[in-house]
Symmetry: C2
Subunit: 70 residues, 2 copies
DNA sequence: ATAAAAAGTGTATTAAATCGCACTTTTCAA
DNA sequence: TTGAAAAGTGCGATTTAATACACTTTTTAT
């Protein structure tokens, strides 16, 4: 999960929920500037910041062993 | 994914692979002190740090919509 | 076309993640 | 038992994520 892909994931989900960056930032209790940076893939967010976001977005973060492609 | 659970996930996986904290830190290109803090749930790591770790551990991070329990 | 809402940006400050060094504690095999 | 390897900790330095303010650009609805 690289910054660019993360940003798209967050942005896509936010748009599905039809809320603005400002509202998402406020609901998540984080700075608007920070959210903008994340969505634009220009940030290296902390786990805490990530958790705030995905919680409000109704998402979850998971870490699992990579499945081999063959 | 809270810091405590993350720490356990990392530690469990490392022990399955039978490598030391020192080796994992070096392979991941991160400070030993940082890895120790993460495993002990006393850290709020950045995405970049997380990526370094799970990459070496043969794991992957994913963010998906929460499935309802019913 | 245009006015308002939403999104993006430059700069500066603050809080905290990362890091190395030196040391202590715990684990574990001989 | 004991000695070495592994894990954990106090401290201080450096880097950078997170933040607010003020402003510009883009998007959207009328």
């Amino acid at each position: 999960m690289h910054p660019d892909k993360l940003g798209q994931t967050i942005k896509n989900r936010r748009e599905i929920l039809a809320i603005t960056q400002k509202d998402l930032a406020e609901l998540s209790g984080m700075g608007l500037r920070t959210l903008k940076a994340i969505e634009n893939g220009k940030s290296n967010p902390t786990l805490e910041t990530l958790n705030k976001l995905i919680d409000i977005l109704g998402m979850e973060l998971s870490i699992d062993v990579r499945k081999p492609k063959f």
